[in-house]
């Protein structure tokens, strides 16, 4: 009883801050995007006479003033009462009456609509969408595409050898990741870590570490491990291994969170210990999805190891990169076909295996 009230007391204290942060963020975003659109369409030119490119406009924006304005506006708007004038932050955090007025008749409805429009046009400008080039300049890529469609046999032998290395590289990374992810997943599953303060802390810690590990691209891990163990496939194994642990932990723990609690209750009721409950109540339920996710992960690792080879992590990517740089499109075509064939075969294989076990 005390726990519940304490939590809601905290929420009452936090709420105004959450509302303010959301409102200020959205308003600030709106102000900046409007300013960007105004500059872009005012036709301002650089000293050399060209229209300003996106990154220069982004440089010109008044971020400080926008933040100040947004904060002031959010303070005012956050106080608004009633279904029509209520701010987006308040609506998100405190909730709104589902039977309230339609969005066309609320302030936050129109604000959100305009924000979405502004986001689209800003995105168009910032990513420098050039429809004309896309539609009229296909001939510039013709050489390359012709090369890709006429694969040369010069690199076939070496490509096949390195393809085998790529598959094993992905396999080793996956295999080493399984036992570690399997153990960590139990610590990262919400439904198994509700008990004590320590188990909740363990959950938060594992989740945080795994999310950070997963957030770093395998390419970056590869660079780190290349300087650690040297150029070669082992650096690639380590990079994919680390990333796979994080990814598998997430997938595994989500499966653990989705289990039927019935068998867990039943085994607990027989007087089983915590580990016995895991072994009999949890593990049998998660084995099929675990297997299926693991095979899927191997599949992903084969594709990723190609990119990791680009920077020296071994595998087929290692010989692909220089041929791309030199524009040897025929040889690039051969290697791309080898990779595509492998990915296609693994896709079929993993689908078949998953079909059998689930």
């Amino acid at each position: 009883m005390t726990k519940g009230t304490r939590r809601s007391a905290w929420r009452r204290v936090l709420e105004p801050f959450q509302v303010f942060l959301i409102d200020a963020g959205l308003i600030g975003l709106g102000i900046l995007m409007v300013e960007l659109l105004v500059i872009a369409f005012s036709g301002r030119r650089s000293p050399t006479g060209f229209l300003l490119p996106a990154e220069e406009i982004l440089d010109l924006l008044h971020y400080g003033r926008a933040a100040l304005g947004a904060a002031l506006a959010a303070l005012v708007w956050g106080r608004a009462e009633g279904g029509v004038a209520i701010s987006p932050g308040a609506a998100l955090i405190r909730g709104v009456d589902a039977a309230g007025p339609p969005w066309t008749r609320t302030l936050r409805g129109w604000f959100s609509f305009l924000l979405a429009e502004a986001t689209f046009f800003t995105g168009w400008l910032v990513t420098e969408v050039q429809l004309m080039q896309f539609l009229t300049q296909f001939d510039k890529a013709q050489d390359m595409i012709r090369g890709l469609l006429n694969p040369s046999s010069a690199v076939l032998h070496q490509g096949l050898v390195l393809l085998v290395q790529t598959i094993f590289l992905a396999f080793m990374a996956t295999a080493f990741a399984i036992p570690i992810a399997f153990v960590i997943a139990f610590m990262a599953a919400r439904n198994l870590t509700r008990g004590t303060f320590w188990s909740r802390s363990l959950y938060t810690l594992t989740r945080t570490v795994m999310n950070l590990t997963r957030a770093v691209e395998p390419l970056v891990w590869a660079l780190i491990f290349i300087s650690w163990v040297g150029i070669g496939p082992f650096a690639g194994v380590l990079a994919l291994w680390l990333h796979s642990i994080a990814a598998l932990t997430k997938l595994y723990s989500e499966q653990i969170e989705n289990i039927d609690t019935g068998p867990v209750d039943a085994i607990t009721a027989t007087g089983g210990s915590m580990l016995q409950v895991m072994r009999y109540g949890v593990v049998p339920q998660v084995i099929p999805p675990f297997l299926s996710f693991t095979i899927y992960r191997w599949d992903i690792n084969v594709r990723m190891s190609t990119i990791i080879g680009f920077v020296g992590g071994g595998g087929i990517g290692y010989i692909l990169k220089p041929r791309v740089d030199l524009g040897q499109w025929g040889e690039v075509g051969t290697l791309v076909l080898l990779i595509a064939g492998t990915v296609w075969a693994m896709d079929i294989l993993s689908a078949k295996i998953r079909e059998k076990i689930v």
């Binding site: 085994i267 007087g271 016995q276």
Partner: protein, 261 residues
Amino acid sequence: MSENNIAIRVEHVTTIFPGPVRALDDVSLEVERGEFLVVIGLSGSGKSTLLRCINRLQDPTEGRIWIFGEEMTGAKGDQLRKLRASIGMIFQQFNLVKRHSVMTNVLSGALSRTSLFRSLTMRFSPDEVRRAQACLDRVGLGDRGGSRADALSGGQQQRVAVARALMQDPKLFLADEPVASLDPALRHSVMRHLEVLNREEGLTVVCALHDVDLIQRYATRLIGLRDGRLVYEGEPQGFNAHTFKEIYGEEAEVASGLAWT
């Protein structure tokens, strides 16, 4: 009533779920050895919570519970597991491990007396296997030990769950709406096993039931819960249309064909 004749003693138990919802509100009761106590009430009236508090699948917020003189509330670790092992429980959804064989499911009733290594590698002693076979024989499924649990029908699965509970060699049996998800024609096939355990072996049974027609056949005593409060206590014979409305509310109606008018 002498003290060692009491199987379960529940004193002022209150259970509050986040919300907050008072699932149980100051419930006190005593169950004698050998009773077949049936708990009735609407869904959400606290029947399950009461049963789950008895073997501590759910911790009561307040109050105390004793099982055969030993305090259940406050028990920890090995002590709690030993007490749980003396209480068999079956559930509405059977809660078998679907991918395991029927035999393994029954054997899991012996986990509390199996070493950690043997249980993690799932190698039970020949003695336990023989006992599990005997338990399966008792529920009439002696030849199904090798089947996968989910290959069996609902009624058979619930009988496997009974065998798993028997494997614990329990002194007390909790049944949380054991036949609610079974075909009406199969309900007695499960209830009869509980009856035999109760009448012939003197096992105390606490059973939550929904169907009023099963009550008179099996119960030796009846309690009714409404909004977490104990609102009725008496013999199944004294249960009539009036008390029915008291427990289930004015809107409820006794199903046709019943003799309580």
